[in-house]
């Protein structure tokens, strides 16, 4: 390699190195910074620790966890909060980088790292209404709390609860939730909430058939069809057969 070529090469590479130090955001930064951090564009080490990457310790030196969602870093109230309720105070760990990517180029690779309910403390997880407003439709107006019985924390819809798996709400049972589920407890139910079924009638009918265990109605009766009665095994049988099965099992006991 000739001496001139070596000099030209060296000069070019030195120029590039100087540009990297002068304009690190353009030369080595993986994309534009978020608008809120624009003033830090040329100060990489404001957020990055050498050889360790962006560190949460550096984030919280400006963003006090107790103030996130409430006050800006200058102490002013947040005028347009991104969430209805501040929640950073209730996170299990202070790992800012797990969710936040300030460079456009890095964000592209982390679409899955959005808010995740699993990051919330256990006590907060059960208090859905502290962040979410209950829908105002006819069904949800009857319910307060216990959202997790029907909805999971990955997404609101579709609701994961299929009532037909337990009991079909056919035309004979087109009742409001509180008729069967009293006290807002949807893990329990009663069939004695309407005039059709009374404890005395039910007891008499079942004792006549030799059935003594009839507390859990929906274990055998999954709908209003009297010919569609399941035994403990879950198979659909006719009324008569279902009774025989139940009777036989009782005899075995």
């Amino acid at each position: 390699m000739s001496r001139i070529l070596k000099l030209v090469l060296a000069a070019n590479l030195i120029a590039i190195a100087m540009l990297a130090f002068t304009y690190p955001n353009l030369m080595v930064g993986p994309g534009k910074l978020i608008p809120g951090h624009k003033q830090l564009e040329t100060d990489c080490f404001a957020c990055h620790a050498p050889l360790l990457g962006a560190s949460s310790e550096r984030c919280v030196s400006c963003h006090k966890p107790a103030e996130i969602g409430r006050l800006t870093t200058t102490g002013q109230p947040v005028s347009k909060p991104l969430t209805s309720t501040p929640f950073h105070q209730k996170l299990t760990t202070q790992d800012c980088i797990a969710c936040h990517s300030d460079h456009a180029g890095v964000k592209r690779f982390r679409p899955h790292r959005h808010f995740n309910h699993a990051l919330l403390q256990k006590a907060t997880l059960d208090q859905c209404q502290s962040c979410h407003k209950a829908p105002a439709d006819a069904l949800h107006r009857q319910i307060s709390g216990n959202c997790s019985q029907c909805h999971n924390q990955n997404k609101w819809t579709p609701a994961t609860f299929d009532h037909s798996k337990y009991f079909e709400l056919d035309r004979d049972h087109n009742a409001s939730c509180v008729t069967c589920h009293t006290g807002n407890d949807y893990s329990r139910y009663t069939c004695y909430g309407c005039h059709e079924h009374t404890p005395d009638n039910i007891r008499r009918e079942h004792i006549e058939e030799g059935i003594r265990d009839f507390d859990n109605c929906a274990e055998c009766h999954r709908n209003a069809n009297e010919r569609d009665i399941r035994g403990g095994g879950g198979e659909r049988r006719g009324k008569h057969e279902g009774k025989r099965d139940r009777k036989g099992r009782d005899d075995d006991d």
Partner: protein, 192 residues
């Protein structure tokens, strides 16, 4: 003559460059299709390691390394750099972020193309020394000795020497820019 130039130089060169582009595009497409874009971020590591491994040939040629079959090492050099370059190209993707890694990518691309030109020049040189091979054989040299003598003749022919004067500065530029990119990653990236 025209037919020979087309068949022996233009077509093989176009095929090698085209295949590199096709492999890069196919790899990028597959990663996006399989929702594995994040994998592309790490393909730069095996790509760089392959390119570095391929440099063993250059060290062997300059006698910094005394052992190793030069012919095998040259094959490793050709395949290692080609596969390494394709991995780095997939790693670079089509995402324009910082200037330094893109300069490194462009330098690597030029280096890869230059390498493919070198490969074709070497093939031409080999054909040129075919006559010499026959001459050595007539002199009664054993087959391995003939292959060894002819191999070094092929790689030291005038055209190859001139090509090397271009290929090595391009590689130095690529290596320096790539090193700058790697240092910046180690400096700012969080591996945890």
């Amino acid at each position: 003559m025209t037919n020979s130039l087309w068949r022996q130089h233009v077509l093989p060169f176009t095929f090698l460059v085209g295949l590199l582009a096709a492999v890069t595009l196919a790899g990028d497409y597959l990663l996006h299709r399989l929702d594995l874009v994040w994998v592309g971020r790490y393909l730069g590591i095996p790509g760089t390691l392959l390119i570095m491994a391929a440099l063993i040939y250059s060290l062997r040629k300059r006698k910094y390394i005394k052992t190793g079959n030069p012919k095998t090492l040259l094959t490793l050099h050709e395949f290692g750099t080609w596969i390494g370059a394709s991995l780095v190209l997939i790693h670079a993707g089509i995402h324009f972020n910082a200037i330094l890694p893109w300069l490194a990518t462009v330098a690597m691309g030029v280096n890869a193309v230059s390498g493919m030109v070198g490969k074709l020049l070497l093939d031409r040189s080999r054909r040129h020394v075919q006559g010499q091979r026959e001459h050595f054989q007539l002199r009664g040299l054993s087959r391995p000795d003939v292959e060894q003598a002819v191999f070094w003749d092929a790689v030291t022919l005038d055209a190859m020497t001139k090509w090397r004067k271009v290929h090595i500065p391009i590689f130095i530029v690529f290596a320096t820019l790539a090193l700058g990119h790697i240092i910046s990653i180690f400096l700012f990236w969080s591996w945890s």
